[in-house]
Amino acid sequence: MICEADTLADPMATTTASTLQASLLELIRVTSTVLPEDVVSAVQKAKGVEAEGSNAAYALDVIDCNIGLAKQKSQPLCQDTGSILVYVHAPVGYDLVAFEEAFIAATKEATAKGYLRQNSVDSVTGHNSGDNVGPGTPDLHLHQWHRDYVEVKLMLKGGGCENVGAQYSLPHPDLGGRDLKGVENAILDCIHKAQGQGCGPGILGVCIGGDRASGYAESKHQLLRLMGDSNGDPVLGELEERIVAKANQSGIGPMGFGGTTTLLGCKIGKLNRVPASFFVTISYMCWAFRRQGITLTRGGEIGEWLY
């Protein structure tokens, strides 16, 4: 009986694996080529704000045009298809090893099809793996949960915006102490240093607290929130609004050309810290804010789209 079950299970497993791989490939394609609706709305709202004929208005027009072209041609919004950040929640008992294998296969396929650029480079030899797979890439965050379905969220984060992220340790001689004023000044300092290099108008993910590693992880995790949502913590919600308002008075503007829209949004979370440390960690996301998500059916097909 056991042998019979095994022979029966094999073709089933293969079918599921190829269905899962196809679903994940489609998730990668859509994430790379179609900007999520909440981000599109934010870009379009910003277009109305910039002065007619300004460089800022020109930049936003080109960005808007690019959003349409990428979707229409099913080609990457940005040639830097970035770090591949994957956040998975699965029921207890779900085979996450098989999931990882399917995601890696989908990543290779997406790279061959040109939905992803060859973005995995050996940091010592400079050798490009050519298929986006190598130590640390793609970056999968696998979790269990008590719901009965699998959720997969994907973020493609380009290097230009990743490079202008920053981590501050408070107190800081110029920025202040271990309080919300110090936090606010650290974030504003990061925005100033970034100028247009992170492909603004940007969206900030921020973590107050944690350690050097968890701070960056949580700052990116904040970017999974919807653009228009409200922070569950009213103190952090107010800080988010204040940061966006002040950033948009800085005159940095889209692409650093000058103008009104420096940030489209700011998402702030917090983690507990050890008494000795107080980090403020900022991940800057470019306007080409590529994140999407799906739920999977039991057969590995796409259930719902999440953004």
Partner: protein, 189 residues
């Protein structure tokens, strides 16, 4: 109306441009980013004659179809990483233009003025708008660096750009850096 220019560029053409000019650039563009500048800095001879040419800070998405390459996405990458090297490429190889995004710093600004070169800003992230204006891929060198870092020989038609560093010592980036500093200092908590 944007100024129409075709590469290679002359010093006179380049010196006639000023910060804020919109330009549509046609003709040959060579991609060159981090690894290319690293090699040039260490004295390697460029694989093509760069005199009068324009270097594009870009790591495109290329897909080989049959025996030719298709350019699937080709927006600019952040230029500031080439700040230590760009002026040398102007001095040693006679480039007349650099295309990128995010701007460059004082060394590049001084190099543009001294050697007659400009910095053209493309719109970051707008890889499809840019790729539409790349009508052909005619070749590639230094593929050993990997596709995103290689020297791609692109052919552009009316590639849309804004001059943000000119050959007269002006930089939009230096201006915005200074003005935003004073505004944000006044807004400090």
């Amino acid at each position: 109306m944007p100024i129409q220019l075709t590469t290679p560029l002359t010093e006179d053409q380049v010196r006639s441009l000023k910060v804020g000019d919109t330009v549509e650039l046609s003709g040959r563009l060579y991609t060159g980013r981090d690894a290319v500048h690293h090699r040039l800095h260490h004295g390697e001879k460029p694989p093509v004659d760069l005199k009068g040419q324009v270097i594009y800070h870009c790591g495109p998405v290329m897909v080989k179809v049959g025996d030719r390459y298709e350019c699937r996405a080709a927006g600019p990458t952040t230029s500031s990483r080439e700040e230590p090297y760009q002026w040398e490429v102007m001095r040693d190889h006679g480039i007349r233009g650099v295309i990128g995004k995010g701007g460059m710093g004082p060394k590049t600004l001084a190099g543009c003025k001294q050697y007659g070169c400009v910095y053209f800003h493309a719109i970051g992230g707008a890889a499809q708008v840019c790729a539409e204006r790349i009508t052909r891929v005619d070749g590639v060198d230094w593929m050993d660096l990997g596709s995103p870092e290689a020297v791609w020989h692109l052919w552009a038609e009316k590639f849309p750009l804004i001059v943000t560093i000119d050959a007269h010592g002006n930089s939009l980036h230096a201006d915005v850096l200074a003005s935003s500093k004073s505004k944000l200092d006044a807004l400090k908590a």
